[in-house]
Structures are given as structure tokens and as C-alpha cells.
């Protein structure tokens, strides 16, 4: 036992020493490269050539509560990185790190990327994490591109914070307006999970939009993001005989909720937020998903050339349909490439300027621009599930 104890002790000590050495080395090397010297290239656009590798950090939630989004984002980023590597001229050194859906890890990672001297940080997955970690990049003068942050106020953190994800406030009013026009909504029941930042801010957007459209909300019901049985709530909703159910929930709640609603004979349209915009809805809820209306930043059925190519490449690479998180991640890295090539420089300062100037760039999300608040501007889409696929509601 004595021997074992000392072995463990020695191993632990060794591990600590090892860690401090190697991270020390890594930091030292990275810090030196941060100088913009070899990150400035020659030529513009297609012909731009930059000698050094452009270091890009990505902070995604690959494990923990938000792992399902992070995984999609990782696929989108890796696909984009692979395609950019083929294109040549500018090489990207993309490092994807996992924040474990833990604010402490997110902050540590941002800190580490800033210390390592990356040119830009992509992420983090969740809006709450962005509020916590984006200020670190802002203070250090490293641009951040959010690819899934939809909460209000993220870009107010500072002039180095950008995002290519439309806010709920941008998408949801369009969804409600379109649905009201289409279905003649007069009175609806709103349901949302109140223990998740994303769905709660979605609810707030829904409530504001419904009020603006003059639709009466006969009841507002809340549930938890971990709930799977919604029958009691749905029965309660059924009692007020609504024209539609408006739901702000994550995909994990959306699938059982939609299935159970149809089982209970609720056949009015179900209007969902961004969380519903996931091919798993049709895959897992099947028939029940028919007639679900989803407002989305990404039109999966769009036939613009970028999107068609993306759908095919993604399917070929991963054998599955991409969701909006993958599309936004893919578009994110492509936009970074666009920004790098526009000035043919990849140091943080030039990237920040170039990102702010992005205008009418064709992407999988459609014609894309960054507005003066560093928020995304591109067409949103209102989709309805028809025959097992999202189609544009018209």
C-alpha cells in the first residue's frame, strides 16, 4: 500500500509538472507569433496569399448540456476548414476547444486563446457563455464571431464582438407575422421552458411579436428543459381551444411535445422557435411533425448555389443532414475567410475592420451583411413541415 501511495503521488506530481511545462512552451511559442508580420499577405480576394498560418480559435460546447449544438457546429466548422484548405493561398490553423457548457471553462479557453495570440475566436455556443467570455477578447483586442448567439445585447459587449446568427428578435416577428397572415391567428397558447436562457429570450420575442400582431394569448405555460411529458400542460392548453400553439423550446422538448400534442388530438399549427429548426424533428416525431411552423435564420431548402453545395458536401462527409447550427458555423468560417481575403491580412486588427465591412456576401444563409451594430443581416425564413421536410411557408 505504501508503494502504491507513493506511485500515485509521484504520478500526480509528474502530471502537474508536465502540464506546467508543456502549456508554458505552447504559450511562449504562440505568443511570439502574434506579431502581425507574417499574417499580412499579397494580392486580394481569390489571389490573396498569406505566408503564415492564420490561427483561429473556436470555443464550442462539445460536452455537457449544450453538446448537441456544439457537435453540429464542430462538423460545420471542420467541413469549412477542409474546403478552405483545398482552396489554398491562405491556410488556417483552426483549434476547436470544448467549454463543457461550463462558464469556467469558457472563460479559461478565451483567456488561453487570447494569450496564444489567435487572430479571431469563433463561438461560444451559448449566449450566456458569450456574455461571460467575450469581454476577455474585447479587452485584448481580438475579434469574436458568434455563430449561434441569439440573445439580445451580445454585440453591445464591444466593437470586437460580431455574430453571424440572427437574433430571435429578428426572426420571430417574421414568423408570427407570416403565421398570423397564413392561419388567421386570433388566440394562441404560449408554452416555453423558463430555465434556459435561449428559450426564455425566445419566449420574450414571441410575446412581443404576438402583442404587435394583436394576437390574444389565452394562456402562457412554462416547463423545464428537462421535461419529457407534456400531456398535462397540453390538456390545459387544449381547454382554451387555441388557433395555434406557440412554443419556445429546445429540440429535446420539441419532439415529445409535438408528438404528444398530436396524440391528444391537437391538430392546430404548432409554431416553434429556433430550437425546432432541426432535421431531428421530422426524423423522430415523424407524422406528428407535419404542420409545425418554424422561423429560422437558415432556409434549409434554399436553392442558392452555396446552400446546395453545402447540403451535398455535408451529407457526403457525415451521412446526415445539417441543421442550422452546422450551417451557421460553416458560414462563419467562410465569412472569416472572406474578411481575411478582402484586405489580405489576418491580424486581429485588420480582421476586425474587414468583418465590419462585410456586405452582401453570398453564403449558405443567403446574401449576408454585417450591420453597424455588428449583428447579422440576411433573409430569415418561415418554414412549415410538409411531407417530412421543411418547406418555405407561402
Amino acid at each position: 500500500m505504501r508503494a502504491k501511495l507513493s506511485t500515485v503521488a509521484a504520478a500526480t506530481a509528474a502530471a502537474f509538472v508536465l502540464a506546467s511545462c508543456s502549456s508554458g512552451d505552447g504559450d511562449g511559442g504562440g505568443g511570439g507569433q502574434a506579431a502581425s508580420g507574417d499574417l499580412a499577405g499579397e494580392g486580394t480576394g481569390e489571389s490573396c496569399t498569406i505566408e503564415g498560418e492564420v490561427p483561429i480559435g473556436a470555443v464550442l460546447s462539445l460536452t455537457g448540456a449544450a453538446a448537441s449544438y456544439g457537435e453540429s457546429q464542430q462538423r460545420g466548422l471542420e467541413l469549412a476548414a477542409a474546403q478552405l484548405a483545398e482552396q489554398g493561398g491562405v491556410t488556417y490553423d483552426l483549434t476547436i476547444e470544448d467549454d463543457q457548457t461550463d462558464p469556467r471553462q469558457g472563460i479559461t479557453l478565451f483567456d488561453q486563446f487570447v494569450t496564444d495570440g489567435v487572430s479571431l475566436i469563433i463561438g461560444p455556443t451559448l449566449s450566456n457563455a458569450a456574455v461571460q467570455s467575450d469581454p476577455i477578447a474585447q479587452e485584448a483586442g481580438v475579434p469574436v464571431l458568434g455563430i449561434s448567439n441569439t440573445a439580445a445585447g451580445i454585440t453591445d459587449i464591444g466593437d470586437y464582438v460580431f455574430r453571424n446568427s440572427l437574433t430571435e428578435q429578428a426572426v420571430i416577428p417574421q414568423t408570427i407575422a407570416k403565421a398570423t397572415e397564413e392561419f388567421g391567428l386570433q388566440n394562441v397558447v404560449v408554452m416555453y421552458s423558463n430555465d434556459d436562457a435561449f428559450t426564455e429570450s425566445g419566449y420574450e420575442a414571441f410575446a412581443a411579436a404576438l402583442e404587435a400582431e394583436g394576437v390574444e394569448v389565452s394562456e402562457t405555460l412554462t416547463f423545464s428543459k428537462s421535461d419529457t411529458d407534456f400531456r398535462a400542460l397540453l390538456t390545459q392548453a387544449q381547454a382554451s381551444d387555441p388557433d395555434a400553439l406557440v412554443v419556445s423550446g429546445l429540440i429535446e422538448a420539441a419532439i415529445p411535445l409535438v408528438t404528444q400534442a398530436r396524440e391528444l388530438g391537437i391538430d392546430v399549427p404548432i409554431i416553434g422557435g429556433n430550437g425546432f429548426n432541426n432535421p431531428r424533428l421530422m426524423a423522430d416525431a415523424g407524422e406528428a411533425a407535419e404542420g409545425v411552423v418554424v422561423g429560422a435564420a437558415w432556409n434549409s431548402s434554399s436553392d442558392n448555389p452555396e446552400n446546395t453545395a453545402f447540403l451535398a458536401d455535408f451529407e457526403a462527409e457525415y451521412g446526415a443532414q445539417p441543421d442550422q447550427f452546422a450551417a451557421q458555423a460553416y458560414a462563419g468560417l467562410m465569412l472569416v475567410d472572406e474578411a481575411v481575403r478582402s484586405g489580405c491580412a489576418a491580424d486581429p486588427e485588420s480582421l476586425k475592420e474587414a468583418l465590419g465591412d462585410i456586405e452582401d456576401v453570398p453564403t449558405v444563409l443567403g446574401e449576408f451583411s454585417i450591420d453597424e451594430n455588428r449583428d447579422a443581416v440576411h433573409p430569415a425564413v418561415v418554414q412549415v413541415v410538409q411531407d417530412g421536410a421543411f418547406t418555405v411557408l407561402e
Binding site: 501511495l5 500515485v8 502540464a19 464550442l60 463543457q100 462558464p103 456574455v131 423558463n194 434556459d196 426564455e200
Partner: protein
């Protein structure tokens, strides 16, 4: 150089502070998960009630928030602690977990907290501030460890009933520990908020609570550096994995959990068990006066004069669901007497002394012991009145050293030292030294001086019995109750014990002892009381008892007629205090160490020596 590690270092400090809030109660043997709730309440109230940094400056704002957060955390601990402090083990864990969940749900549904989207807080905390706060917290627990208060908590962890019998107010100590946990958790909550910029109720959920607990346990919950080591370990694992270059994904959490398993398997005492521990030594003073000399007796304690009544029992009875363990016992103990209580198995001897020492309330009759009425007085108050005892089955503080055991015994006669130790007042040192001298004297008196540093559980059975006597002596009692002190001793040890008891009586101590070694009883006692079927059948001088035909028939037997096998069997089954005390005696049963019931040796198996 240090600056580039500022973030992980800050999180190590924060994690350690949170782990200290678990350590604060683990050290008293309480398993609580409510700290996440205290931290959440502290964080949200501190962050929203403190004035803005623009008005008073950032650091004052943080300090005000800390004060608010710690006060709120402590207050919440009082509110939760009062109704739950009688819960033990997993029941306390579940109750406190319920509280933490309730807090999370309430905060989620309040508008001032921002709900799930959280509350934005400016970042004020720096790595230096975090480590300063950690140093203060660690200092607190460091100074606590060797104080009277710290020892009392450890004693409660090791054996609650014995701690009570040593005069420790267990309820108050447990609540104090819980409130400390609440305040430290509140501190963590505020510091966390002022570092991460945005707090949401989800940051203080079940997972966070479990992580805090794991950090404290991995680090070691019996040594004050444990939480710090645990937090360093937990925080560095992801860093190491990143540095080594393990690709992000499921492998990392898997490895982290695996390492945790390895540590727990091979270091059950936590990482802190790798550190060398400084044991307190016996004070070396050859000319130390023997315990019992007037000079060493704490002066503020009044002992009854010789011949004065120490205990008066009138019609005392105890009934367990129809079984009369003790009935109608009239007995008077006078100061300076050595009274032997003998009788066959199940005669009610232990029940009787349990009543006298306040462990079991009588069902009928009345008793006054050292001016205190038995029945309504809690055990620790009886101890304070001057009753000290040993137990039929040793109830030592197993993981503490022999010397520490006796130091706990001196709880009642030493002064509280914790707060003075925090300030390094020399008087605290003097008081600790006095307690140490006293404890050492008690150990010497029972002949265990050379084993002072040995863990109680590592002592031989006979030594454990003697250690119990030393511990009971340390409180300078007026009435010493010994429950089968010679059980498991050979005749040399037993005669040594006999000499010890006689010498204690010479010092003016009143002694009541149960013993099966009748020869020893007759030789040592001034008076012998014989109990059978819960009733006193004889009482008198050893010579009278040895000659009493009733006693000979009922108990002593003759050489060819040892104790009646029938009555022993019956008696064993009916003995309510041995084996399974049952749920009927609330005071005693709930206090017994949970694992004790299954491991008790069969009661009263000592061979009886009738001559």
C-alpha cells in the same frame, strides 16, 4: 509569467472556497448539498443589492457584496438548519438538496434575477483578491483544527453519542458548522459572480453541488488543506488534457472521471493524506502533578463534599414496549462511594446507568443526579453537571489519536479557544497547553502515555477500555460511571484497573460501575448493588453481598451450578440496551453510530467468575 495562468489560478481559488463550504460540515460528519443554494442566494442578493462600482469604487462594492452574500448565506443556513439539524447522513443530504433545488426554481422565476438569462455583474475580482479570500478561509479552518471547537466537531463526526456524553452540545455545534458552510458558500457565490460577469440560477444546480462535494472529498475532508488540493486537482485536469493535446470530446470527461476514481480508490482520505501530518505530542514535563491533585483540578468546578448525596433515585423504572428493563429502583449514591452494580445479563444494569447519565429518559419514577433532574435534561447538560461515563461497547473517536480523544474529554473543563486562536492570543495557547497537560495527565494515569499518538482504532481492546476511562476522567467528573470497564482485560490488567479505581475514589470521585468480574467488584467497591430482572434484590457491603443467600441463589450460584442458563438466555433476549436498542428509546437509538448495530459483539459474553 504568473499572469498567463491567472484564469486557472482564479478558478482554483474559487473552487477551493466552494469546497471549503462542504469541508465545513464534512468535518462534523454532516453530508449536505445545500451549499449550492446558499451560494446562489449569496451571489444573487450580493450582486443585486450591492451599490454600483461607479458610486463607491469597485473594490468597496465587491466588499459590500461579500458582506451581503455571506450574511444571506449564513441566514439561509440558519433557516434551513433549524428544522433539518436532527437529520443524519443521506437524509440530510436529500433535504438540503431539496432546498438547493427550491432556491434554484425560485430564483429562476424571479424577475430581479433575470431568470434563466441571468444577472450581469461587473468583473471586479482579480486573481490576487481570489487568493486573498481563499487564504482567509483556509486560515479560518487551519486555526479551527486545533481549537476546542474544532476538536468537538471532529468528535461529533466520529461518534455523536460519545461526544454528547463528553459534554458537547451536538445540536449547537452542528448548527454552527452549518452556518459556517452557509457563509463560506455565500462568499463563493459573490466572488464567482464578480468574476464570470453573468450568473444564472443554472450555475448553482445539482451538478455544481456535487462538484463542490467531490472537490472537498477528493482533496480530503479531514485536513484543512484538502479543499485546496482538491480544487487544484479538479481545475488542472482539463488544463493538463489540453496541454497534452488530447482532442476535445468525450475522452476528456471520461479521463477526468477515471482519474477521480483512481484517486478515491487509492487515497480514500483524499489528496491531503499524501501530506505529512503533524501530530500533537505529549507535553514533556516529568514533574507533572498527577491528575486528581487539587493543583491540577480546574477550580471553577464544585465537587460534592464527602458523604453528600450525589444521586438519588426514587421508584425509577424503564419500560420498553411492555418489557420492564428496570422497575422501581430506589438508590442513593453518596460522594466518595465506589458502588458496584452487578447482576445477570439483561438485569437492567446498562439501562439504569443510561438513565443516570441522561441517555435514556425514565418511564416512571424520578432521579436527581448532582442537582439535575434526569429525564428532561440533555446528555451534555448531565455531563456538565459532573457525570462522566464509559460505554459497554467502546465508543471512542476512532480516527483521532489517543491524546486527541482525551482532549475531547477535557471539553467541559477547557475554555473555548477558536476565536482567540484566530488572533494568536497567547491566552489561547496557554489554555490549549493546560488542556493538553490535563489530557496527558489522564493518559498517564491509566498507563497509556506511550501510546498517546496512536489512533484509537489501532489500540488493543484493553487499551481502548482504559482510554475510555482516561477520556471520562478528563472532564473532571464528580460521578464516574464505568460500564464493564474490565471486559476483555486479562486478570493482570483487571487488577491494575482495580487499583486505579481505588485511587480515583481516594481522590474523592464517586464511582458507579457495572462489572461481571464479581471478584473485582467485591475487592474494589465500598458497596454493591445487585440487580435482577430490573429490580434491586440486594444492596450492601461486599461482605454482606457475598454472604447473602438471595444473591447466591439468584446470581452467584455455586461451583457446580453456574449461572442459570435459562435466565441468561431470557435475559439476553430481553436486554433492551444491548444488541438492538430498538426505536423505542429515541434518545439513545438515534444517536448510535449507524454501523454499530450490525457489528456489536454479542452482549455480556464475558465469562463469569463467581468466586
Amino acid at each position: 509569467m504568473l499572469l498567463q495562468y491567472a484564469t486557472p489560478l482564479t478558478f482554483i481559488a474559487l473552487g477551493a472556497i466552494f469546497a471549503y463550504s462542504f469541508y465545513a460540515v464534512l468535518i462534523a460528519g454532516q453530508l449536505s448539498l445545500g451549499q449550492a443554494g446558499f451560494a446562489a442566494l449569496g451571489a444573487f442578493s450580493g450582486a443585486s443589492l450591492a451599490p454600483s462600482g461607479d458610486d463607491v469604487g469597485e473594490v468597496p462594492a465587491l466588499l459590500i457584496a461579500i458582506a451581503i452574500g455571506m450574511a444571506v448565506g449564513a441566514l439561509a443556513a440558519v433557516v434551513l438548519g433549524l428544522p433539518t439539524m436532527h437529520l443524519r447522513g443521506v437524509f440530510l443530504a436529500i433535504a438540503t438538496l431539496g432546498f438547493a433545488e427550491a432556491v434554484r426554481i425560485v430564483l429562476l422565476n424571479q424577475s430581479w434575477t433575470g431568470g434563466a438569462q441571468g444577472l450581469a455583474v461587473p468583473r471586479v475580482l482579480t486573481v490576487g483578491m481570489a487568493w486573498t479570500a481563499l487564504a482567509v478561509v483556509a486560515y479560518w479552518f487551519w486555526r479551527m483544527a486545533r481549537s476546542r471547537y474544532g476538536r468537538a466537531l471532529e468528535a461529533i463526526r466520529e461518534d455523536e453519542l460519545a461526544a454528547r456524553a463528553m459534554g458537547i452540545d451536538v445540536g449547537r455545534h452542528r448548527l454552527t458548522a452549518f452556518v459556517t458552510a452557509g457563509a463560506v458558500a455565500g462568499l463563493y457565490g459573490v466572488l464567482f459572480a464578480y468574476y464570470v460577469r453573468l450568473i444564472a440560477p443554472g450555475d448553482f444546480d445539482f451538478v455544481a453541488a456535487v462538484e463542490g462535494l467531490v472537490t472537498a472529498v477528493v482533496g480530503g475532508s479531514t485536513m484543512f488543506l484538502g479543499p485546496l488540493l482538491g480544487s487544484g486537482f479538479q481545475t488542472m485536469i482539463p488544463e493538463i488534457q489540453r496541454a497534452v493535446g488530447i482532442e476535445a470530446g468525450w475522452i476528456r470527461p471520461f479521463l477526468a472521471s477515471f482519474l477521480l476514481l483512481v484517486v478515491i480508490l487509492f487515497l480514500p482520505g483524499g489528496l491531503a493524506s499524501l501530506l505529512p501530518r503533524r501530530r500533537i505530542r505529549m507535553p514533556a514535563s516529568p514533574g507533572r502533578p498527577a491528575v486528581g491533585d487539587p493543583g491540577t483540578r480546574p477550580t471553577d468546578r464544585r465537587h460534592p463534599d464527602p458523604g453528600e448525596t450525589v444521586a438519588a433515585l426514587t421508584g425509577l423504572g424503564k419500560e420498553y414496549g411492555g418489557v420492564h428493563a428496570v422497575r422501581d429502583v430506589d438508590l442513593e449514591l453518596r460522594s466518595g462511594e465506589v458502588v458496584g452494580l452487578i447482576g445477570p445479563n439483561g438485569a437492567g444494569k446498562t439501562t439504569l446507568v443510561n438513565m443516570i447519565s441522561g441517555l435514556v429518559p425514565p418511564s416512571s419514577g424520578s432521579a436527581t443526579v448532582l442537582g439535575t433532574t434526569v429525564g428532561r435534561t440533555p446528555v451534555h447538560k448531565m455531563a456538565a453537571a459532573g457525570v462522566s461515563r464509559t460505554f459497554q461497547h467502546s465508543k471512542l473517536f476512532n480516527r483521532l489519536s489517543a491524546l486527541d480523544n482525551v482532549l475531547v474529554g477535557a471539553h467541559l473543563v477547557s475554555r473555548p479557544t477558536f476565536l482567540r486562536r484566530l488572533l494568536w492570543l497567547p491566552s489561547a495557547r496557554r489554555d490549549e497547553q493546560a488542556a493538553l497537560e490535563r489530557a496527558a495527565g489522564c493518559l498517564e494515569r491509566v498507563g497509556l502515555a506511550e501510546l498517546a499518538g496512536t489512533r484509537a482504532s489501532a489500540l488493543s481492546y484493553g487499551d481502548q477500555r482504559r482510554l475510555e476511562i482516561a477520556r471520562a476522567l478528563a472532564s473532571d467528573p464528580s460521578l464516574l460511571i464505568l460500564d464493564e470497564p474490565a471486559a476483555g482485560m486479562n486478570h493482570v490488567e483487571a487488577s491494575g484497573l482495580s487499583t486505579l479505581i481505588t485511587s480515583l475514589a481516594e481522590d474523592g470521585l464517586t464511582i458507579l460501575f457495572i462489572e461481571h468480574n464479581v471478584g473485582m467488584v467485591l475487592q474494589t467497591c465500598t458497596r454493591v448493588v445487585v440487580l435482577n430482572f430490573g429490580q434491586v434484590i440486594a444492596s450492601g457491603s461486599p461482605q454482606e453481598i457475598a454472604a447473602d443467600p438471595v444473591v447466591i441463589e439468584a446470581y452467584l450460584g455455586t461451583s457446580d451450578d453456574e449461572a442459570d442458563p435459562g435466565s441468561i438466555a431470557e435475559g439476553t433476549a430481553a436486554d433492551p440496551t444491548a444488541g438492538s436498542a430498538g426505536g423505542t428509546s429515541a434518545g439513545a437509538a438515534t444517536n448510535v453510530h449507524p454501523s454499530a448495530a450490525g457489528t456489536l459483539p454479542p452482549p455480556d459474553t464475558t465469562p463469569r467468575n463467581a468466586t
